[in-house]
Amino acid sequence: MLRGFLHLAEDGRLLKAVARSLARLLQGYGISVLIGVPLGIATARLPLLRLTVKPIVMGLQSLPSICWLPLAILWFGLSESAILFVVVMGSLLSIAISTEDGVSSIQPQLLQVSGTLGIRGLRFYGGVLVPAALPGIVTGLKLGWSFAWRALMAGELLFVSGGLGQLLVTARELLDVAQVMAVMAAIVAIGVAMDRILFQAVEVRVRRRWGLEAP
């Protein structure tokens, strides 16, 4: 496996593939966050949305993200957008659900006190609602990232066009077990690095400041 690793690393293919995959991930994830967080907030605050949108979101959540690929290819053709769509659908729902959860579990007193202190509008949403729901939102972001990563890998495998997925497929076609495992190791390493190092750290910091966890 180590041999395979070095082989890949040598001609810079690994790095290029990682860069490609990560770029897609960031794009798709970014879109999910931009749509998912406001969607979650809106669902929590507006009773109408809670009745209509929430059941749909919860239902779709149970759909494995790869199942979106056929639809994506039909809609977007064999293009980057298709993969992006799969990534977005994979993570959007979990971000929205966690955000909605976070907002719904805000202490009612905080909302009441905001009313009584005259904190309204943008100051309320940015200064009270989002910070108060932040522990829940960060959890959602963490989950969303995991799902996005998995969705991306699945997408890249089935619809091959650069990135780590392609490396994996190429290696399989060449019947190079060492290379396959090397790529798998790379995928795991990136996943772990992101999950544990980045998100865990942020989550713990937020929880500590909010007083939810002992320092």
Partner: protein
């Protein structure tokens, strides 16, 4: 005391006969002065700062609960009024109607001549829960609230500093709420409320969750601050002694339906000591009177027990009462809880 004064006046030495006469005089004086310490509140001619007219409120749920019925109350500028009553008597509902959080189903509430519609910083509500923003430090909590009022940064910082000092939290400006004790959190909450300079300060049993000693300290603090600033305050409590220590006026309420029983003016000089004999006697008087009133209002069998239970909830000697007794007796829902569903 009167014995020595009498002796001085008459110029006669203390003898057993004069002694018994003095004793009688002393008792008479005490009775008179006791009457003068707690008198029915007389309506003032001056326009009221807070005017409550024929306010009624019914909670509509599975059962209809008449929380308030035809309540009339005038609070004047600079008065500290305590709403006293057992759980479920509607005192919190009345307070929340003043705050604008609850819209009464009948009647009007006006503050400074303007009808109250919705909560606002002019009629600040303080809860039992400190409701500090947990991600902000003490100083940031105050500054954030002040910024919402449109003050510039420098003024906000100055005020924050001033009020943190006033509630004796110097040194804890940079602490997060979860790093403070219960009493300190309430002090921070009080600092935040006072710094907003509201026209009226409304307090819903703010010291209920604190231990007896901390509560005593908070009483002293509140008294001192009030003596300096003379804010108009309406304070809700079930603790008779707390009401007597803090209030210029004690408005005793009863429930089912929520109404005002007595409106009393307290004429003890400030600052008041909760262990003051006179205060303890007044507290006992109120409790006894309440017991009788409850017993009378429900002449059916078993009512005596209920009445006693309700009267017991009026705590005259520390935190012995349980608020659950009221809920069990079918009292009025607490407006904070009732609002959970309303997207609050």
């Amino acid at each position: 005391m009167s014995t020595a004064a009498d002796a001085e006046r008459t110029g006669r030495p203390l003898v057993p006969r004069a002694h018994s006469l003095c004793a009688v005089l002393r008792k008479l004086l005490a009775r008179l002065s006791r009457k003068r310490l707690l008198v029915p509140f007389r309506e003032r001619a001056a326009p009221a700062k807070i005017a409550v007219k024929s306010v009624g409120h019914t909670y509509r749920g599975r059962d209809e609960v008449v929380a308030l019925e035809n309540v009339n109350l005038d609070v004047h500028h600079g008065q500290m009024v305590c709403l006293l009553g057992p759980s479920g008597c509607g005192k919190s509902t009345l307070l929340y109607a003043l705050a604008g959080t609850v819209e009464p189903s009948g009647g009007h509430v006006t503050i400074d001549g303007k009808e109250v519609k919705g909560p606002g910083p002019d009629r600040l509500l303080m809860f039992q829960d400190h409701a500090l923003f947990p991600w902000l430090t003490v100083r940031q909590n105050i500054v954030f609230a002040l910024r919402a009022r449109g003050l510039d940064r420098r003024e906000c910082e100055r005020r924050a500093h001033e009020y943190i000092h006033l509630v004796q939290l110097d040194g804890f400006e940079r602490s997060l709420p979860h790093q403070l004790s219960g009493g300190m959190r309430q002090r921070a909450s009080l600092a935040r409320a006072l710094s907003m300079d509201p026209a009226v300060l409304l307090m819903d049993e703010p010291f209920g969750a604190l231990d007896a000693q901390t509560r005593g300290q908070m009483h002293n603090l509140l008294q001192r601050i009030w003596m300096r600033q003379r804010k108009t305050v309406v304070f809700v409590t079930h603790d008779i002694r707390e009401a007597l220590v803090l209030g210029d006026r004690v408005v005793v309420m009863a429930g089912r339906p929520g109404r005002i029983l007595w409106d009393l003016e307290v004429r003890l000089e400030r600052p008041r000591d909760p262990d003051d004999e006179r205060l303890v006697t007044l507290s006992r008087q109120i409790r006894t009177a309440l017991r009788e009133a409850q017993a009378q209002s429900r002449p059916m069998a078993g009512a005596g027990g209920e009445g006693r239970e309700n009267a017991e909830q009026l705590d005259g000697a520390g935190r012995g009462s349980s608020l659950d007794g009221g809920a069990a007796a079918g009292g009025v829902p607490h407006p904070a809880g009732a609002h959970l569903g309303a997207g609050g």
